[in-house]
Symmetry: none
Subunit: 192 residues, 4 copies
DNA sequence: AATGAATGAGTGTTCATTCAT
DNA sequence: GATGAATGAACACTCATTCAT
């Protein structure tokens, strides 16, 4: 999709830096060094640091959204949809731990940045897509009645929490092994 | 407990700064200004910025641990214990949103710091206390069988996730109103 | 040899500062001010203060080494070689009092620094060159028998000592006027 | 002589610090720590850092002066006097390497300080004493004719130079072993 | 599109010194 | 005499950003 190799190289370098050192501790110089590019090049392509971080964030969430979209094509029941939210998230985290770490820890900062509006918009679309997929089942009374924001946290909360621990190296169990468990619990927690 | 007024003033100022601006954006100068102390005084009492942050973190988690400890005194069933974990967490977050925001976002940074070992130790004790409270019920078969780290995430995950959103101003519902809901779901998710 | 004007300007400014105030009392700001450069520029070119000092030191010793090398081309007797060590040192000090003051007072500090190894290497080459020039005469028995390190101090010691005093403004006599005296004494002290 | 134990303890601690780290790198806090005293105590006894350093310097030179004075009592010839200057210096350096290192490297700084005048006075007395001891022999024509400041450097220069190298760990030979050699060379260099 | 020298406000930190107890 | 909390000017250094080439 992206033609400019340079731009992608920079983004990859930025991800590696951010994953190792955290967003704040990552400097333009570190990214430049890792990308094998010049400072001028970074600024030519992205304008400033904030926009590099934002681009990284959006690229990360797009990946997950794409994975989810694929899943929705086949999910033909309330149960399948709910479990899909969990399993596709876990699949994405397992496949992209660096992206996941970054996205999980940088939401606040990107939201507060110059690019926050763009992010919130993307996020809204993301949630809208999910709610749209579930709206029918909801009206049919497939789910326990609860506020929509609680509903989201009940489904994905345990997965988020465990993923954070796993990504931080604090978990004993392997995330991939918990796929079915968390999916089942999510479904049990929200089914009517 | 703490005698030194100055030290506490500094810590309070640091909390306010960190809560408004985030850890990285908080400068020594901001804390100094807010505490009405001198730079030298900050360094006399804490040595460096990292140690101020770590002291803040430990003070925050101690509060929650104390609250939990009170609750355990009265919780006399598996259900009560599980629900207590949720409700006391929510109560603490609602009562101390600044501490909560800070603790929730700075764990990684403090763990990676000079004081990380001390923190991990405190954390271990914290979890040990919780597991000890639940161990008896576990052996009696009160809970679904699952890895211990998943067990923890299943109980507290939805609460953590929703609390994050609420603290970031992204929730429509009020956290306090979800107290019983999350407690009940936690219990339903882990009961045998 | 050096192309970068900026780098040389900074070094010249550093020499002036160090000569007036001493190494420790010289601040980056003083150098920056005198060089008419920005702080960033200093750090862009040298990395840190220590490396500025080390670069200065090496440049200074290179000058003297070059002067000595020129002299060796013409010195064709033991006496000429020994006297050359004294006279070229005095000539260098008289011509470059700032460099000399700095080199004489900062050897320990540079040796103890990050760049110490590089300095010791340069020094070793310097001494190796001198010993090589004298080795032949030594074997022919032109010199009194004494340990090599004493030999060096006997030749250059009075000159070093007086140069220190002269550079510190403590000498009544002028260094240049003592050229022949110290050269003759050096030769008399080591000749067989 | 000094009654106040505290004052001496502080001075000893200062010497140790200065010897290990250098004057500039030695902080009041380091001295305080080593002396087992309080900051207030240091300032009570000495007033400020500069005066601690100056006191240290003067104590060091007094030691050497006392040693020299003892020697003069027995030295009854030009040769004995000249050799005494060398041997008593070497004896003092060997017996007090820390003091020697400090004195050798801090003269300029102390001279430039608030206490500089006091030091210069002490120094003048020191040299006056030496010149007085040699004046008679000088008039008798025992020495080569040369400026008085060159005379001093010719006698003590090799010893100073070698002592510096020895104290810095750069000498192969041991200083004590060179006692007679340097004394003899000094005498040979200045005798008529 | 790329380069990298130059910029300078801002950061954490140090440390001699003061002074109330 | 002794203590140590408090002070704040001064420091080395960082780093996002600009811009001429």
């Amino acid at each position: 999709m992206a033609r400019s190799t340079r731009k992608d190289e920079i983004l990859q370098a930025a991800l590696a830096c951010v994953s190792e050192a955290g967003v704040d501790a990552t400097t333009i110089e570190m990214i430049r060094d890792r990308a094998g590019a010049s400072i001028g090049s970074l600024y030519h392509h992205f304008g400033n640091k904030e926009r590099i971080i934002a681009a990284l964030y959006l690229a990360g969430t797009e990946q997950y959204a794409a994975l989810l979209e694929q899943g929705f094509a086949k999910a033909d029941s309330a149960e399948a949809c709910v479990k899909l939210l969990v399993t596709s998230y876990i699949d994405w985290v397992v496949a992209n731990p660096d992206w996941a770490r970054f996205v999980l820890h940088s939401r606040g900062r990107v939201e507060a940045s110059e690019m926050g509006e763009q992010l919130r918009e993307a996020n809204q679309q993301h949630y809208a897509r999910i709610y749209q997929a579930l709206a029918g089942y909801r009206e049919q009374g497939c789910f326990k009645s609860m506020p929509i924001d609680c509903f989201a946290s009940v489904i994905i909360g345990p997965t988020h929490d465990f993923s954070r621990n796993w990504l931080a190296g604090r978990a004993r169990s392997d995330l991939a092994d918990c796929r079915e468990l968390f999916a089942q619990i999510a479904w049990d927690s929200v089914r009517a």
